[in-house]
């Protein structure tokens, strides 16, 4: 028994390229296009923000260049792909160039900046990163950060308070948190407090795995603060889609989480 759904999805958590830790999780250019096209047709995942493994595991600059090359190909555009930009460390040396780089990157198809302070060993704290936050805030450019990247000690001591302070000071800059490889369920109280004490923090859904967790968070602050992500290829995107379709939310809430909230964030960029 199957049913059709009119819900369209905008996935902001999709990884491609070479994962040096495992061939199982690597996606060639050809395979990436094949998967993006297939899921657009079969699963209504109409748009996807793609992240390159090389941008995280190797070098952000090299990864960003390869991503730009991909998302500017007609076939990838038709498959709904745009890019996730990773912070490049040379802008700590040339901060004055950051704004221009962000604008050029946006024009090349990058719609969100991801920071990886733990893996790439740079600060994200207000006192040391504020110059970049100010520029992003001035053009409503969204920031994304994984829980894994703000678990500096590796012992689940997440820097939630720092996130709250950043979000509150730069409240035009949407701050999107993804659960990485953690079970976000463990941080429910933090999630509730962050939602309650900020207006621009969003949670990506792939790791909101707990029983009724998506409905609970939506009930608490409305469906406006959740954005859809699949974390492909680590997770099967069919179940991320199905979880929203089969959730206890009304159609309006499902559509917001699936696509509208992220679209609104991206449409709001003025650069």
């Amino acid at each position: 028994m199957t049913t059709k759904t009119s819900i369209n999805f905008f996935d902001l958590n999709f990884w491609f390229g070479e994962n040096y830790l495992s061939q199982k999780y690597s996606l060639s250019e050809k395979k990436t296009l094949e998967i993006l096209s297939k899921r657009k047709k079969q699963k209504n995942i109409t748009f996807t923000l793609i992240s390159n493994f090389l941008s995280l595991f190797y070098d952000a600059e090299i990864g960003n260049k390869l991503t730009a090359k991909l998302i500017n190909q007609t076939e990838f555009m038709q498959a709904g792909a745009s890019g996730i930009l990773f912070m490049e460390q040379n802008y700590f040396f040339n901060p004055g160039e950051f704004g221009k780089w962000l604008k050029r990157s946006y024009e090349k198809g990058f719609k969100l900046l991801k920071i990886s302070p733990k893996t790439h060993k740079y600060p994200f704290e207000l006192s040391l990163f504020s110059y970049f936050y100010e520029i992003m805030d001035s053009c409503n450019f969204p920031l994304m950060i994984s829980i894994d990247e703000i678990d500096i000690t590796g012992n689940k001591n997440i820097e939630w308070d720092k996130i709250a302070k950043i979000a509150n000071l730069y409240d035009n800059m949407p701050v999107i948190i993804d659960g990485g490889q953690s079970k976000e369920l463990m941080y429910n109280c933090y999630l509730l407090s962050l939602l309650n004490n900020t207006s621009n923090v969003y949670f990506e859904t792939h790791n909101l795995l707990g029983y009724n967790q998506i409905e609970d968070l939506a009930d608490f602050k409305g469906a406006d603060r959740l954005v859809f992500g699949s974390c492909y290829p680590f997770f099967d995107d069919s179940l991320a889609v199905s979880r929203i379709v089969n959730s206890g939310l009304d159609e309006k809430g499902k559509n917001k989480i699936a696509l509208l909230n992220l679209k609104k964030i991206i449409d709001n960029i003025i650069i």
């Binding site: 199982k24 079969q42 369920l185 009724n212 069919s238 199905s242």
Partner: protein, 268 residues
């Protein structure tokens, strides 16, 4: 675009959730988590029977067991139970287990070497393994890749169970979470291939594309069990996962329920 309407889809299947937890999960706060709500969601999405352990049983012997017995009585049309063996109270735990061997609602034993910080080949587990084999009670054990930030996972390295299986060849052992993370999920297939009394579930957040198909391709579908780990992971993720696998109907039915009915002798 085709997606499953899960509530309709599940009507064609006998679904047994072999990995459910009931009660307060200690320090984890879940606004909607209560017994009735969890069980109602399970029933709504087609689960016919579930085998559960109480969270409290991992922390306290008597309170945990009493809670289990109470809920098994209250939901006797739906729930079966796992007795949780705590190696840190090995004699007490074993004696209580012996006392309840005739309880038809208790159909298996759960162990969690990482929670109890005790390796499975530690002597504190020895009498327990003997009894489980002798009474043919399936044992569900936590298993996980030790190469993760959480150091306690070293106690549940799936390969630590190889010596147990060799020593107790008639023991029915289920490796929960199939090793949990990374390439360990694939290495566990070697173990399942090698030992015919070894089973596996994909409870929790094991949703790697292609993984279950690879298991079925190498070891068949008969030793794969459906488990959710509710409330840690919502049932709806698991159902969507199973129904989107590239498997035939027989294989899906085996995984969703038939294998569990046979292994736990559920008589349904």
């Amino acid at each position: 675009m085709i997606l499953y309407n899960l509530e309709n889809k599940v009507k064609d299947y006998v679904i047994i959730d072999t990995h459910l937890h009931i009660g307060s999960p200690a320090y984890l706060y879940m606004p909607s988590n209560n017994r009735d709500a969890v069980i109602n969601l399970s029933k709504k999405f087609g689960v016919k029977k579930a085998i559960c352990s109480t969270h409290s049983s991992f922390f306290t012997i008597n309170f945990g067991l009493n809670e289990l017995l109470q809920i098994l009585k209250r939901y006797r049309d739906f729930l079966f139970g796992y007795f949780v063996f705590n190696p840190n109270y090995d004699d007490l735990s074993l004696n209580l287990l012996k006392e309840h061997l005739d309880n038809k609602s208790i159909v298996g034993i759960k162990i969690h070497p990482s929670w109890h910080l005790c390796y499975p080949d530690d002597k504190r587990y020895e009498k327990f393994w003997n009894l489980a084999q002798e009474r043919q009670l399936p044992v569900l054990t936590h298993s996980w890749n030790p190469e993760v930030a959480n150091k306690t996972q070293k106690f549940s390295n799936p390969f630590l169970f190889e010596n147990i299986i060799k020593k107790y060849p008639d023991l029915k052992l289920i490796l929960a979470h199939a090793g949990g993370r990374g390439d360990m999920l694939y290495k566990v297939i070697d173990l399942i291939e090698k030992y015919e009394n070894l089973y596996v579930d994909f409870a929790g957040d094991v949703f790697v594309p292609g993984l279950i198909e690879e298991y079925v391709g190498r070891v068949g579908s008969e030793r794969l069990l459906f488990g959710t780990d509710m409330p840690w992971t919502d049932l709806r993720f698991h159902l969507a996962h199973i129904f989107n696998l590239d498997l035939n109907e027989k294989e899906i039915k085996n995984i969703l329920g038939i294998n569990a009915i046979k292994l736990f002798k559920l008589g349904i």
